[in-house]
Symmetry: C2
Subunit: 364 residues, 2 copies
């Protein structure tokens, strides 16, 4: 079992512990009861997680109030679902001594975290991620949110978890495509912060694809170390935390343009390739860095280019409406070497002229 | 013009300024533009405030996107209103550089503050209270919330304002009953924290009732000093902040039992009298403290007793479901002298046996 502490000073107790292991899930309930003895647990999960047997593994013979999100996936990530969760908690007479357990992938963590953030001015949330994406990324860092009828993540809060439990065995039940797409966020961590971690993934890609639990524990710990350090330095994304957005600006546009037919990690892979093309235009490329990244994505079996049906002009429009755009155009996170984010005048997200982006999208 | 700084360390910049004056409102827009130059303002108000002319006083000849809550009052304090505000902001293409201006009474501040807290993971809110209640209490302290279909304030967040502007001239347009009820929270501040402030209100009650702006500025400053100090010491109500709940536990029950026919301040006045009766039972009375408080409430023209139609058993039921109840019974804030909260074993809210509360309610 591996442990990592994230120190976010504003949280009660000054931080939270991430516990990583194989076959950890059946022990989480007792661990959580020991650490939060005065709290009444409420589980939020989705129907896929229930079908995979994870809910029974977590709860065992204990009594637990529960909300099962139906259907699973992005479609349910709405403010209506968050309202339904809060009202279910109220009807179960849960109070400010509640603790929400978010068991599932990124969507469950986002919805349950937001519901916990707004229930009676906020109760703690424990994140128990069960996908490669959520274990690498969304369970750590405190971003929560749900969509409105107008746009994605219109509602949200920074709500840091009280604890995170990562059982790498839970990803064994994921379908192959989802499993592989989630690994892209791990590769992103290597690209922005740690070249030896990138090399470790390159060297162990076969073990990772075979879902070897030793390899999975190793990358889970590296992900938490890297993301935890960035989040500690900048919990509410004023500057440095923006580096986690590497590949995401164009990635989000590609994801939306695909009608969410692409998985998030797949779209981010395309976005990382686009960032590599921008870096070449901006004189930040060295050696065949992009070739190496593309080769790793190819081994992983994720796309390296947008589908031909998506027009560059459509992506340019989406970029102009990016939620982080200022005066109608977003800034971009770039790297100048593997493991090394490009920082200009202290800023981790920099200006890139629309013409350069447009020409890159033409070739993507 | 008077100023007071509240230092809540977790907020950006480490605190916020409360500016108090008479006829301040027409200058607030320029002040706000100077202090938050990079932000795009969005005004949330209600139809009563618009009718009183305060919105035009605030905005003047400036262009401003705006959401007007209809109807005014508690009925609109729902999660649906908060969702409508967020979606209006999205449709106006407002981003994370927005700043929400909450212009109105406690309900407007609560709804607008909550919408700001959850819009794209949080944007700043400026509170511009226009009622005696909001100026004395709700605009300072960062509590925000809206009701669900199940209960009051089911959704909420601690979201400290970026600035507060109090124009005491705005209360001149309030109807007499609302005006007087709002003064109860000022009296509460004297009772829990400052006997000389209580005496100042007693001595100046005629000037206060005449809406003398000099007297109103003086009490606005005292309120901000007292509430600000409590909130600084305990921003998320772990213990000390609970003292602000004086008179509110039974007050909330009386307010609910009246079907919200009583105004909040009126119900709190009854709750303060009930607290005085409990103090007598618990051996905490000295002299004719309660008589003095009742006399001041009589001068103010607010109720000192529940209406005969409300049964004690109904209030006992409501107390058992109080949102701060633990194991089905709330704790109570009591005073042992004017300006002196009773603290037992370090706790600012203490156990009172249900039998004592029941006997007090029989006599209330």
């Amino acid at each position: 079992m591996l442990c990592h502490e994230v120190k976010i000073p504003p949280t009660p107790g000054g931080g939270y512990r991430i516990t990583i292991g194989t076959g950890l899930l059946p022990t989480v309930w007792e661990r959580m009861r020991a650490d939060f003895a005065a709290s009444t647990p409420f589980v939020v999960t989705d129907e896929d997680v229930v079908a995979a047997g994870h809910l029974s593994r977590l709860v065992g013979a204990n009594e637990a109030a529960c909300f099962v999100i139906r259907p699973s996936g992005e479609k349910s990530k709405t403010v209506d679902t968050a309202v339904a969760i809060v009202e279910t908690m109220e009807k179960a007479f849960l109070g400010r001594d509640s603790i929400v357990l978010a068991l599932g992938g990124g969507t469950v963590g986002d919805i349950a975290g937001f519901a916990a953030a707004v229930f009676k001015r906020g109760v703690p949330v424990v994140q128990i991620p069960t996908t490669t994406l959520a274990q690498a990324d969304s369970a750590v860092g405190g971003k929560t949110g749900v969509d409105s009828s107008v746009s994605k993540n219109a509602f949200g809060a920074f709500w840091h978890p009280a604890a995170v439990y990562i059982d790498v065995a839970t990803v064994k039940t994921l379908d192959e495509r989802q499993y592989r797409a989630g690994i892209v966020e791990s590769i992103k961590h290597g690209l922005i912060a740690d070249s030896s971690y990138f090399e470790l993934i390159e060297a162990n890609i076969d073990a990772i694809l075979a879902r070897d639990t030793g390899a999975l524990e190793q990358i889970a710990l590296a992900n938490c170390r890297i993301k935890g350090a960035v989040v500690e330095a900048d919990p509410t994304e004023r500057n440095q935390r923006r580096m986690l957005n590497y590949g995401h600006t164009i990635g989000h546009a590609v994801e939306a343009a695909s009608g969410y037919g692409l998985l998030h990690g797949e779209a981010v892979a395309v976005g990382i390739v686009a960032a590599g093309l921008i870096e070449a235009e901006m004189g930040l490329a060295n050696g065949d860095r992009l070739g190496r990244i593309r080769a790793l994505f190819e081994r992983l079996g994720v796309p390296r280019a947008k589908s031909g049906g998506i027009r560059p002009s459509e992506l340019m429009d989406l970029l102009r409406h990016d939620k982080k755009a200022v005066h109608g155009w977003p800034k971009f996170v770039l790297i100048e070497g593997i493991g090394q984010v490009y920082v200009r005048n202290g800023a981790y997200a920099v200006d890139v002229p629309p013409e350069i982006v447009n020409s890159v999208l033409e070739r993507l």
